[in-house]
């Protein structure tokens, strides 16, 4: 069904950039008022809000996931533990917590390609990938990944052979999925750090493969 829906797709109005400067300003103001209200009422404190922003902007991101993947590539025993109990194995590297309380890792092979999505909202493994990208949360990906994963992958530049089995994981809040991509050829001599540097966020969502050049 790769190109089946091609002629029927209308232009996409679901991007953030639609907003005019005036609208953006109104939005900033609306949020400021809400924050002031909730601060005044004692529901939140500015310090707590600042801490949250700092954590998600600086501490959490796909570099964590890349470390997990690189470790699995070089350490067969770790790879086994990761596939058997991802939450626990990921915890070994120090990652876990909110929106990743129960994680599952699914492994790409020469014959199986996994893709993670959340059709109902935006569930995503925050501790290892950080916050999801905009496209992951917007209607085009959420709706079509369930019915036409191969067509969606083509839009990401990845055309899969018909012989490859595609597995879509429609995540829910309780269980968060991470793809263990295939280790690229020609990386036999790479160190764990060098391997981690190759691993992209997209490859851990399953919309890309890992290349031997970063």
């Amino acid at each position: 069904m790769a190109d089946k829906h091609q002629h029927d797709v209308p232009p996409n109005p679901y991007l953030e950039k639609r907003r005019t400067a005036t609208e953006a300003k109104a939005l900033e103001e609306r949020v400021r008022q809400l924050e002031n209200l909730l601060t005044e009422k004692g529901v939140v404190s500015k310090k707590t809000l600042d801490r949250v922003v700092s954590i998600y902007e600086n501490d959490l991101g796909p570099l964590n996931g890349a470390k997990v993947v690189a470790r699995a590539w070089i350490d067969a025993a770790y790879r086994q533990r990761l596939l058997a109990d991802a939450t626990k194995a990921i915890k070994e590297l120090g990652f876990g917590g909110l929106q990743g309380e129960h994680m599952v890792v699914v492994e790409n092979t020469a014959t199986v390609h996994n893709i993670v999505a959340c059709t109902l909202c935006s569930c995503y493994p925050w501790p290892v990938l950080g916050l999801p990208p905009t496209w992951y949360k917007n209607p085009p990906y959420r709706s079509r990944i369930a019915i036409d994963p191969r067509g969606v992958l083509i839009e990401f530049g990845l055309e899969l052979d018909d012989s490859i089995e595609v597995r879509v994981w429609d995540s829910s809040a309780e269980i968060r999925y991470l793809v263990l991509p295939e280790r690229p050829q020609g990386t036999e001599e790479f160190s764990e750090e060098e391997l981690a540097a190759l691993v992209t966020r997209d490859s851990m969502i399953g919309v890309a493969r890992v290349n031997s050049f970063s």
């Binding site: 209308p10 996409n12 679901y14 310090k47 600042d50 309380e101 369930a146």
Partner: protein, 221 residues
């Protein structure tokens, strides 16, 4: 409820568009909305209830809002329900909420610990013995509840196979509506793409989705 958030299988939203440089936030206000959402999460109650607030947006509003705008709408609605926005002073409902939630506001160290610990949905009470085993054929029930559910429309009535058992988790359909956590087994169920979408789908492909025991019935034959 069958609302627009349940959009799996729709083919009308156009191509996936990736932004240049993919900024995590598109403005200071998005940072604050994320932070406000996490910092009020304990105060405003269970995740399922908060999700349902988003799902109740009418489709026109849902689709015309960007992601963090919807989150903003959610905090506004929950604040309104609590009585913060409609009145100058606390309403009795807001005050009552304060009494039941200890330690508001959450301080930054507590927040840090919430982010590090998370809020697991797994439970050691409720239905602990799964009815189904890995490999069992099951049919997703065709139910159309008026409230919150995770049973997406595109699997209702379709036959799949139990792929994995995730243990016993709180049940969103009741948790969202203050009807108790009703913990029960959560399964990863595998559906053939052809079962979900018909013979034009690839026979190689499948879709896995996590479904609670109450969503499933035995499929014979």
């Amino acid at each position: 409820m069958n609302n627009i958030h349940d959009m799996g299988g729709m083919t009308c939203f156009g191509p996936v568009e990736r932004e240049e440089n993919e900024p995590i936030f598109h403005g200071e206000w998005e940072r604050r909305v994320l932070a406000l959402t996490l910092a009020t999460s304990v105060f405003f109650g269970p995740l399922d209830r908060r999700r349902h607030v988003l799902e109740q947006m009418n489709p026109l509003d849902y689709l015309s809002c960007s992601y963090y705008e919807r989150w903003l709408v959610r905090i506004e609605r929950l604040s309104k329900e609590t009585g913060f926005v409609t009145d100058e002073a606390f309403t009795s409902r807001g005050a009552a909420l304060f009494e039941t939630v200890s330690g508001a506001p959450v301080d930054s160290d507590t927040m840090d610990s919430i982010i590090r610990q998370g809020n697991p949905s797994v439970r050691d009470t409720g239905r602990l013995e799964p009815c189904f085993a890995v490999g069992d054929r099951v049919r997703a029930r065709n139910i159309n509840p008026s409230g919150h559910t995770r049973l997406v429309r595109y699997v209702r009535g379709r036959v799949g196979v139990i792929h994995q058992i995730h243990g016993t988790h709180r049940f969103p359909d009741t948790t969202a509506h203050d009807k108790g956590e009703n913990p029960q087994p959560l399964y990863s169920v595998r559906f053939d793409a052809t079962e979900l979408w018909g013979s034009s789908a690839s026979i190689k492909d499948s879709l896995f989705i996590d479904l609670w025991e109450d969503y499933l019935e035995v499929e014979n034959g």
